[in-house]
C-alpha cells in the first residue's frame, strides 16, 4: 500500500485551507480509534460534538465517507486519516469495525446492482423511431445555427476585426448562447473563446482571423460530412457538439496495455474543473487521454498518479487521430516507473504534427514526448534546443522558466507536454532520473519533484 504519500493526499484537498485543517487533524492523539486493511482505512475522530466522527476510506477506489457535516469534500477528517496512513506507521492493521463493514458492504452491493443493470440494457432500450425523430430535430436546429453563424462571421469580416475587437463581451456571449440553443455546444464554446482572442494583447489579429477561419471551415465540413473520411467526420461531429455515448463505447473492444501515467493538467472554467490525464502504452507506444470533470465542492477524482503503471483496457473515442479514451477495465497496478520512453527530437515532433494537421486541420495542441533538449533563456523567453541545433519556444503561460533552467544546469531534459505548432507547453519534466511537475502551493507556483 505504498502508493500513498502526503503529496498525493494534499493534491486531493479542495483548497489550501483544507490541507491546513487536515494537518491539524493528522495527529494520532485526535483519534479515538484507527485501523486499516489492504483496502480500507478508518478511524474515529473527536470533533467539537459529543460523538466522534466516523471516517472510512477505500484506498483502492479512493472513495470516502465521514459522518461530519462538512460540505467541503473530502473533509479534513478523511484527509487527516489519509495523511496519517501515508506516514506509514500511525495507522495499525486491524479488522474493520461494524461501521466500516456496513459501508463497504453497501458499496459492494450498489456496484453489483449497477453492473447488473448495465448487463441488461435491452429492457429499457429506447424507441428507435422516437430517437430518429429527436436526431432529425436536432440536425435541423444545428443546420439553422450554422447559417446564423456563417452570416455572423461574414458580418465581422465585412465590418472589420478592429470593429469586432471594440465590441463588449456580450457580443460574443450572445452568439454563443444562440448556438447553445441550436444544440451545437461545441461551436458555442469556440465562439466564446473568440472574445478572449479578440482581447488578447499581442498578435490578436492573426489569432482571431485564424479562429474565424477555422469556424468557417467547420461549417463547410459539417455540410459535407459524407465526403469526409470516417475518422475526420466523427471528429467534426464531436467538434460541433454531438456526444459519443459512453455506454456504446464500453461495448467496443479496447486496447489492453500497461499504461504509464505521463502527464496531468487541471483547468477550471466558470462552472467545471477539468482534469486531463495522459497515458502512454508501454507496449504499443500509443498515447491516450482521459478527461475527468468535477463541479462545485466535489473534488476531482484521483484515479491516476504520475508515473503509475496501470494494467488496463482503454477504449478510444472516435477521433482524428483518436486520443480521448475511457478506462473500460482495470486489471491491476504495477510498480511505478519514473522514466520516459518514446521521446523524439524537435524535427520528429514537427513532422508528426504536420502529418496530423494534414489529416485534421483543426488540430490544436498535440501531446508529445520531447527530448533530449536543453533549456535556454533569451530576452526573458524560454527556449528548448535539441542536439540538431533546432530551437523552439516554450509557451509563455509556463511560469517556471527559471526553475527549469536551474534544474537542468548543464544536463539535458526529457519533457512530456503539448505542442501547438508554435509553442511547447511542458507538463512533466524528466531530469537526471527524476520527474518534476508544475504545481501550486499556497498560491505560489512551484516546480516540484514527483515523490
Amino acid at each position: 500500500m505504498g502508493e500513498w504519500s502526503s503529496q498525493r493526499v494534499e493534491q486531493m484537498a479542495p483548497d489550501g485551507a483544507a490541507v491546513k485543517a487536515a494537518q491539524s487533524v493528522a495527529r494520532p492523539a485526535k483519534w479515538k480509534s484507527l485501523g486499516c486493511t489492504d483496502r480500507l482505512a478508518w478511524g474515529e475522530c473527536q470533533g467539537s460534538g459529543k460523538d466522534p466522527y466516523q471516517v472510512r476510506v477505500d484506498l483502492v477506489d479512493v472513495t470516502y465517507k465521514c459522518s461530519c457535516p462538512s460540505r467541503k469534500l473530502p473533509c479534513k477528517h478523511a484527509l487527516g486519516l489519509l495523511l496519517l496512513f501515508a506516514d506509514g506507521k500511525s495507522v495499525p492493521a486491524g479488522s474493520p469495525p461494524a461501521f466500516v463493514e456496513e459501508w463497504s458492504a453497501n458499496r459492494a452491493r450498489r456496484a453489483e446492482a449497477k453492473q447488473k443493470k448495465e448487463a441488461e440494457p435491452a429492457a429499457t432500450a429506447p424507441d428507435p423511431e422516437a430517437k430518429a425523430k429527436r436526431v432529425e430535430k436536432r440536425e435541423n436546429r444545428i443546420g439553422a445555427g450554422l447559417e446564423q453563424l456563417e452570416a455572423w462571421l461574414a458580418d465581422i469580416v465585412s465590418q472589420g476585426l478592429a470593429a469586432a475587437r471594440a465590441q463588449p463581451p456580450a457580443f460574443w456571449a450572445q452568439m454563443s448562447a444562440r448556438l447553445v440553443d441550436a444544440q451545437a455546444p461545441g461551436l458555442a464554446n469556440r465562439v466564446e473563446l473568440l472574445g478572449d482572442h479578440a482581447l488578447a494583447s499581442a498578435r490578436w489579429q492573426p489569432q482571431l482571423l485564424r479562429s474565424l477561419g477555422e469556424l468557417q471551415l467547420l461549417i463547410d465540413a459539417y455540410r459535407n460530412l459524407e465526403g469526409l473520411p470516417p475518422a475526420l467526420a466523427s471528429e467534426v461531429r464531436t467538434m460541433i457538439g454531438w456526444p459519443q455515448s459512453q455506454d456504446e463505447l464500453r461495448e467496443r473492444a479496447g486496447v489492453r496495455d500497461i499504461w504509464q501515467v505521463v502527464g496531468r493538467r487541471q483547468t477550471q472554467d466558470q462552472k467545471l474543473r477539468v482534469q486531463q490525464t495522459w497515458l502512454r502504452g508501454t507496449r504499443g507506444g500509443q498515447l491516450a487521454k482521459v478527461l475527468e470533470f468535477a463541479a462545485g465542492p466535489v473534488p476531482l477524482p484521483v484515479s491516476y498518479t504520475l508515473g503509475q503503471m496501470v494494467d488496463a483496457e482503454m477504449v478510444y473515442f472516435d477521433g482524428c487521430p483518436p486520443l480521448r479514451t475511457l478506462e473500460k477495465l482495470r486489471h491491476g497496478l504495477e510498480p511505478r516507473r519514473l522514466a520516459m520512453a518514446g521521446a523524439t527530437d524537435i524535427a520528429g515532433m514537427q513532422t508528426t504534427y504536420a502529418t496530423a494537421l494534414a489529416e485534421n486541420p483543426w488540430m490544436g495542441r498535440a501531446p508529445n514526448m520531447l527530448g533530449p533538449v536543453n533549456p535556454v533563456i533569451e530576452a526573458d523567453r524560454l527556449f528548448l534546443c535539441d542536439s540538431a541545433q533546432r530551437r523552439i519556444a516554450v509557451a509563455e503561460g509556463f511560469g517556471h522558466a527559471w526553475a527549469l533552467l536551474a534544474l537542468a544546469g548543464s544536463d539535458s531534459l526529457q519533457l512530456f507536454g503539448e505542442w501547438d505548432g508554435l509553442e511547447f507547453d511542458p507538463l512533466t519534466i524528466e531530469c537526471r532520473g527524476a520527474w518534476y511537475t508544475p504545481a501550486q502551493l499556497a498560491t505560489l507556483p512551484i516546480l516540484s519533484r514527483v515523490a
Partner: protein
Amino acid sequence: MGADISPFARLAAIATLGTRRAPLPKESPWPDDSLAPAGAEPATRETCLLRAAAAGAIWERAGTRAGQGAAPLPRDFPAQAGRELDEFAGWRLTRILGGEYPYLLTEWFEAAAATGRPLPPHWLPMVLDHVAPEVRAGFPTVLGPVAAWLAGRNSRWLVAPAGEELSDARWQEGSLEERRLLLAAIRKRDRARSLEWLRSTWESDAPEAREAFLGLLTADLAADDEPFLEPVLDDKRKPVRLAAADALARLPESAHARRMLARLEPLIEFEAASGGMLAKLRKRKLRIELPTAPDKAALRDGIEAKPPASRKIGERAFWLSQLVAMVPPSHWCRRFDCDAQTFLDAVLATDYASELLGALTQATVRHPQGEWSQALTRAWMASTQETTEVLAALHDLAMTGSPAERATLLEQILRDTKPANASYISHVLDAAELQWNATITQLAMDHLAGIVASAKENWSHSRNSLDAWARRCDIDIGAHRAAALLDKYGDGHCWRNALEQFNDIVAFRAAMHKELTK
C-alpha cells in the same frame, strides 16, 4: 520573411479593416495555387476570405521551421557540492513564504544552514523571487552556488556575492538597497575599506542613504570608526547628526563620550557620609544638580535644547536625562564602587526618579550589560500602572544584549514572578526576540498553566495570542506541555483556541526540523 508578406498576413490586414473598406487583393489569397480550385465554389467575398485564411493559417503552422541555433551549454554552471536538502524542505519553505506562519522563515533558514546542505536548485527561483535580499544574503550555503549563477542571469535577483570579490564599481553605481548589502558584506571582511567606500561617496550621498549607512555602522562599531563619525556631527541634516552622535556615544573611548562624561560628572555625587564610613554608602543620598543650558559644543554633540511637546519634563531635567542616556551605566558602578542595584535604588530615591529611570534604560540599550538590564527590568515591573512607557521600556530591555544575557534576564524574571506583575511577564516574553532554552520554556509554560488555570473570561482569547511563544519555545517541551493543557481544558475554555494554534505551530516546527535533517 522580410518584404515578402505571406498571403495570410495580407488577409489579416484586409480583415482588420473590413471588406467594406478594403478590396480583396489581386494576387491569389491562397497560400499555394494548387489549393485555388477548392475555393472555386461560389461564395461571398467574406466567406472566400475566411476559407483562404483558414488554409493559410494551417499552411504556416504545418510548415513553420524551428529556429536554428546551437544550445549554448552553460559551461560555467557550478557543481552543487554534496547532498542537497530534502524535496519536502522546499515544500515547507513554500508554505511559509505563501503565508502560513511567515515568522518561521528565519528559523527555517537557520536550521537549513545548520545542515550545511543547499536547496535543490529548482526551488531557487522561488526563493530569489520571494525571500527578501537581506534575509537570503545571510545564508549562502542554503542557496548554494547555483543561486549566484542564476542571479548573474536575471537582474531582478540580487545575491550578495558570497565568495567573490566585492566590486568598487557596484558601490559607486548600485541602488541604495544593493549598496547596503555591499556595505554590510565589506564590513565583515575589511573594515578599513568599508570606511574608504563611505568617504568616497559621502559628499554626494543623499541624507536617507547617509542615515541608512550610519545605521549599518552602529550594528558593529569599533574605535576605528571614530575618525569617520566625528565630522558627521556637523552634517546639515538633523537625523544624520543624531545618528552619528548615537554611534559615537556607543564608543566609550571616543572623544564624544569623554566630552559627555565631563559634562555629567560634576552633576551627580553622593552626599558626604555623616559618619564618614564607606560602609554606609548604601544609605547615603544621591545629590543631583541640574545642568545649565547646553552650549554650542553640547548642541553639536547631539544634546537637544527643547523637550518634545509630548513629554512632561522640565528643560533642565530633559538635558540631564539626555546626558545620562549617553553614558555607559557601568561608569557609575565603577565611580562609586557599588553594584547596579545600589546605584539604581539611590537614583529612585531622588526627585528625578522617573526621568532618570528612563535615561538609564536608554543608556543600557546603548551599552548593554546584563546586570543593568535585570535591575532596570525589576524596577519597571514594580510600576503599578501599565502605561505605554513602561511597556516600551520593558520591550527595549528585553531586546538588549547578547542572547545569553537575554536568556538570563528572562529566566530571572520568570523566577521572580509575583502575581502583582504577572501581566508584565507575558509582555517581556513576547518582546524578547530569542529562542527559549529548556529552562525558560519550562518556566514559561508553568506561567502559562497558571494563567490558563485562573482564567475566568467568558470570551475567547484570539487564536494567535500565543504565536510568539509557540515559535520560540523548545519544541519537545512545548509540545508536551501544550498537549497536557489541551487535555485538561476542553472546548469552550477561553484559552482553547490559542492553545490549539500554539500546538499547530509547534507541530509545524517539529515537522520542519525533521524534514531538514532527513
